[in-house]
Amino acid sequence: MSHADTHDHDHDHDHKPKGFVKRWLMTTNHKDIGTLYLIFAFAMFILGGALAMIIRLELFQPGLQFVQPDFFNQLTTMHALIMVFGAVMPAFVGFANWMIPIMIGAPDMALPRMNNWSFWILPFAFTMLTATFFMDGGAPAAGWTLYPPLVLQGGKNLAFAVFAIHMLGISSIMGAINVIATIMNMRAPNMGYLKMPLFVWTWLITAFLLIAVMPVFAGAVTMLLTDHYFGTTFFNAAGGGDPVLFQHIFWFFGHPEVYIMILPSFGIISEILPTFSRKPLFGYVSMVYASAAIAFLSFIVWAHHMFSVGMPFGGELYFMYATMLISIPTGVKVFNWVSTMWKGAMTFETPMLWAIAFVILFTIGGFSGLMMAIAPVDFQYHDTYFIVAHFHYVLVTGAVFAIIAGVYYWIPKWTGNMYSERLGKIHFWWSAISVNVLFFPQHFLGLAGMPRRIPDYSTQFAEFNMWSSIGGFAFGLAQVFFIWIVYRTIKGKGTTKATDRVWEGAKGLEWFIPSPAPHHTFQDGEPVKDEQLAHVSSH
């Protein structure tokens, strides 16, 4: 078998560093760093999920049974911070590290030592952030949006949270610089911009968003810090400051931030759907432009998070119109995905199932997003469970589903082993059903008048909360099952060896290297061949 030969050959010339410290702590290899990012993100996903389980446990029925209100606020705040900055963002950086150099035919990331640093900051940042749980006064409890003046009432945790956010920001910016430098400088000969896989494109755009907004967030939290410790009054009305100013700055960061979490998902889905439809991606160029349009719009719609704050009429009108516009490029994407499937020859392996669920469920989140763009109606939706349902549809059944789809899609390439298709499908159906039991009723709760971020509720909300909690526990358990599936795949238990191509319909450079991907790839600088690529645009 020629494949086995390549495999042995790799082992001889892999030059993997020996020993745990040299291999992992001191690594500059994009694949190893990608693996570290993914493992870290998964650990944070489980931690953030555990907090969510306590939240759902408390909300299982009315009355206070398990946690006190103050601790409940710590749970919701930390759940969000951990999921956003610890799970979803690092997971996408993990994908970027693993796949971008391979997809563009580069030997590694452009700045490998910085790459090591940008990962190894993260465990320290999150140790600092989660340590606040064990301090006097507990963890931050003002919501992940950290609105003053409430956040300034917190104790020591504010300083820890702010420094943790600074570290996360440094990590993200370095990661983004690395992605941009790699894509701009390290493409193999004949890898033009409009031949790059869409995943590479969406990450390029995401990286620019990160560089643009992370410093803004760092500035906002630094002002919180000086307000709290050094007597400034940026956000204190009594000293001539303005509490609403923080919200503007925060959401100027916060809205691009949500696209930072969704654009790479679009990329992953745009890789998976053509593979299993055995048909080129529909509208490649319009996909690129739509992604860029979404990124641009993300900078000019921030105040739709603040319709109830009492903006001037003209401001409300502008932010309503601008926000509605987002549905145009997003709609183009959805239509393109459906057209990609149309008249293909589809098969439904696990990655495809997750990708299709992504398209449907993310679109449901998009619809509720459009509803909330309508400012006068948002006066009702704002800060209720309707928005909780909305952002969990776009972030869980959106971003997280795309991450899981990507793991199933590329794990044969990473490990050299096929995952168990049977277990993967069980995982999918279990998750897809439970996640809807978890989040769909929250639409009803919000419309019926249940505010978000409350530890206890009136008895009229009891049924749907119980449903939601049951769905939550089931969905949580399904992800523990996922750990087991991934573990078995890595260890090669009950699995078969993966071929180099892995998927019948797969195109792109990653499918022309051996499985598992050798420690070093594309070191010869050979031009890529058009026939290996999924998109060879004539534009």
């Binding site: 109830s308 309503m320 449907i360 006068p376 530890p455």
Partner: protein, 444 residues
């Protein structure tokens, strides 16, 4: 009615669910039984849905407009969803490899791409027009005729509606204060005692026995029906948000800001809402209750408030700008206080005030909750000089959760509460604070 909890109906439904479970128990062993149970629960939820699945139509013109807009956008989304998902699902069944389909190789179609860019733009315009009108009706309300068309004067300009009264809403951690501007009436409105007892970790009252659990207050806001009411919103400590779903809007109450909204309720009744912006520990426990009464009943109620002997009644204040921006400074106390209180009077009153106002953070035991809500038992402030102690309570502590109580509680209440804390638990101060002492520091 979304937020109007009908406890009786809820109970009925709970019992209904119980009996449904009973009927399914006999066939519980089979899978069929399980399916039945799930189905039964689902049905129970459906029965429940009659008062909690959709946005309320509410009781104001604006809320009805919002409801209509909500439904339009919802139906548009639903139609698009059916079309897009329909195509997708059809494709998933028709275009499978297992059916021997050969994949097509097309990768773009300019006509289709133009169509599905232009049509959504048109749909957005269709949504934007009524949305803009609704926004005008909230933010710059004009007089409308019976058909909902704006009335214009001879120059063709629209005429703004006249507000007939103004209520100032102030958010506190965790209660609401309502000032009837120009009337000299103020109300402090907090979670009712029964709900408060039932929501504790080890409740003394079962929440099933509380009517309108967590949606009831001690002193509701009372407003007249069919009246244009300007509502000004601000806050004393952190940001809150005042929301009664039946009125169709929520608006943030922000320290240092005076936000404006308005309403005109068309139907007499009791309407309930909650704070909608995370405002700390007891954010979930500061409901809003508005009693909308006839204009006659309102007039009677108002004069009762003015002549009543409750401590909440304060001297009339003018409704000029300064009063709106800094009413606490202009509120003079008219309640006659005994000159000198005895120690036992102070202690009795103090315990009452402490449990109402202070115990939610500092706890009944005086042990507090961590660093954010420090213990008063053995506290340096409480066991230190009386002056510092009074200052802390009256002016609050910048940058912490300790708020200024000077504008909210009477001097006698503050004196009593401080006396109580200096004597309760194992505290060593063992002295008394008189209302006069508080007054001196307050006016210093």
């Amino acid at each position: 009615m979304a937020i109007l909890t009908d406890y009786a109906r809820h109970k009925e439904k709970l019992e209904g669910k119980k009996s449904m479970n009973k009927t399914t128990k006999s066939c519980n062993k089979s899978l069929l039984g399980f399916i039945f149970t799930v189905f039964g629960l689902l049905m129970a939820s459906m029965a429940h849905a009659e008062y909690g699945i959709n946005l309320t139509e509410g009781v104001t013109d604006f809320s009805q407009e919002v409801y209509g807009l909500h439904m339009i956008v919802f139906w548009i989304c639903l139609v698009i969803a059916v079309l897009v998902f329909g195509v997708m699902i059809y494709s998933m069944f028709a275009h499978r490899k297992s059916k021997g389909v050969k994949p097509a190789q097309f990768s773009h179609n300019t006509t289709a791409e133009i169509i599905w860019t232009v049509i959504p733009i048109l749909i957005l315009v269709v949504m934007a027009i009524p949305a803009t009108t609704a926004l005008i009706n909230m933010e710059a309300p004009r007089q409308l005729d019976e058909n909902g068309k704006a009335v214009v004067d001879e120059d063709g300009n629209t005429i703004p509606i006249q507000m007939e009264m103004t209520i100032k809403v102030t958010g506190y951690q965790w209660k609401w204060k309502y000032d009837y501007l120009g009337e000299g009436v103020s109300i402090i409105s907090s979670l009712d005692k029964l709900s408060n007892a039932a929501r504790q970790a080890n409740p003394t009252v079962k929440l099933e026995d509380v009517e309108n659990y967590l949606l009831d207050v001690d002193n509701p806001l009372v407003i007249p029906v069919n009246t244009n009411i300007r509502i000004l919103l601000t806050a004393n400590d952190v940001i809150h948000s005042w929301w009664v779903p039946e009125f169709g809007w929520k608006r943030d109450a922000i320290p240092g800001y005076v936000n404006e909204a308005w309403t005109n309720v068309k139907k007499v009744g009791t309407y309930r809402g909650q704070c909608a912006e995370l405002c700390g520990k007891d954010h979930g426990f500061m409901p809003i209750v508005v009693n909308v009464v006839s204009k006659e009943d309102y007039a009677t109620w108002l004069s009762g408030q003015k002549g009543g002997e409750t401590a909440e009644v304060v001297a009339p204040i003018s409704s000029d700008e300064t009063a709106i921006l800094a009413p606490e400074a202009t509120v003079a106390e008219v309640v006659a206080e005994p000159i000198e209180w005895t120690q036992s009077e102070l202690m009795a009153k103090g315990q009452e005030v402490y449990n109402m106002e202070c115990a939610t953070c500092h706890q009944t035991s005086g042990e507090g909750i961590g660093e954010t809500f420090p213990a008063l038992k053995g506290s340096a402030v409480v066991n230190g000089s009386i002056e510092e102690n009074i200052k802390t309570v009256v002016f609050g502590k910048e940058g912490t959760a300790m708020q200024a109580f000077g504008g909210r509680l009477t001097e006698s209440d503050i004196a009593a509460a401080i006396t109580y804390t200096r004597n309760a638990w194992d505290n060593t101060a063992k002295d008394a604070v008189q209302p006069e002492d508080v007054k001196k520091i307050k006016n210093s």
